[in-house]
Amino acid sequence: MEKPELIKDGKRLDGRTPKDIRPLRIEAGVLNEAEGSALVEWGGNKVLAGVYGPRECIPRHLSDPYKARLKVRYTMAPFCSPGEHSRSGPNRRSIEISKVIREAFEPVVMTHLFPRSQIEVYIEVLQAEGGTRVASLTAAAVALADAGIPMKDMVSAIAVGKLDGQVVVDLGKDEDNYGESDVPMAITHRGKEIVLLQMDGLLSREELAQNLDDAIEGCEKVYEIQADALRKTYEKEERGKLKL
């Protein structure tokens, strides 16, 4: 496929302005068996996250007497995008994403409260359309909060980047593939700490600074939706199903 014209008259491929984010919908508490869960629908992305624990650390020799171990597994479903994902399960890319998501949560989750145990976060990408790692991180943050795992701060994530010389927020699939740069970022709400920062492509110092400001602004929008999703679970009737 030829490179499309990414920015036309100040509008992007799907008609957004550079600072618009795709429609984002988050629902918390969607799984019965998980302690906490969240479904994120962000543009064409559909991501499901489930949190289990704190429970016994397996294998035992990896348990830490001072804190809980955080385990994150990100996987893409075989049907999540056209081609390329014929086999499910971990691969080089998903192992990397699992690692960066885990490292984003390590400074935030109060693991010292649960010694010798592990907290498991399972993230399943059901449908992918660019920016799955930030969608996954957003889902995982809501799922952790829904599980009642104490966190010092809420984590929100968004991708920023550059298309045809223009700095933009929340890149879609084509923008990611044909743009000049893609910078996924995760920022905490209160502390404004950057817990995830990766970069693909090239950016100047000034552009990165501009991107960072945009990311903080974008994360704030994402945070509002995350917080609403968590509050809304208390309006639902099916809340807290009895386990027999």
Partner: protein, 260 residues
Amino acid sequence: MNIERIVVPGELIWEQEMRVPNTAVVDGKTYAAVVGMVRDDKFIPLELVYKAKAGDNVVGVVTDVRHAGYSVDLGLAHDGFISSKFTRVSFKQGDLIFGKIKFTDEVGSVDITDAKRLPTGKLVSVPASKVPRIIGKRSSMLNVLRDGSGCSIFVGNNGYIWVGGKGNVQLALKTIDFIVKKAHTQGLTDAVAQYLNENGGAVTVPPKDAPEGAMPPKEETKEANPLMQPAAEKVESGQEQAEIVEKTEKTEEKLDIEEM
């Protein structure tokens, strides 16, 4: 006037430093660490991971008989332990117990004391954050629940609840489910009494905060100290026992209990 708001992790609760559980203090300000409700100067967690602490009541399942004691599943990251040194009762694998936490240590081990064996009954698990609502103020909710269903109920702070005895067990379970779903609402004791009455229960004791005449006239009330009910010692007739066993089959299957 109670002004309530629901906060999410990282949200400011108070401008000043307050050392309460499930919050984080940063730069002299108090922030929520879990989803919870702020009512005046109280923070009520709505989602919570149970942390064992000394003095809590627990309901558990004996998972292993070891030579120094018994391992007990409490639904936590680690099994609790009953030392046979301090207990006269002996347990079998699969026994349901009600006990008190004697002490916990910094790596999460839990020691249980005063363990009693519970007779065959239904074991259910609820989120630990809902347990205070199921017990109520000075166990008001639990009294209504026991009274309305006629069951014997033991509630563990760990979120395990044992329901058994002669009453309507299914009604008690339905009502517990009702409480769990409505745990974040106000005036719940009255709603529960109404729910019990509507579903074939008979609540005789009016809740303390209910207005006069809101409840059916008080009839002969049972002894008003249900926490002390010696349910473990109750002998049940064979037929009733069989009925309860039938109802608990599902639980037992799940817990993989050997038939005694």
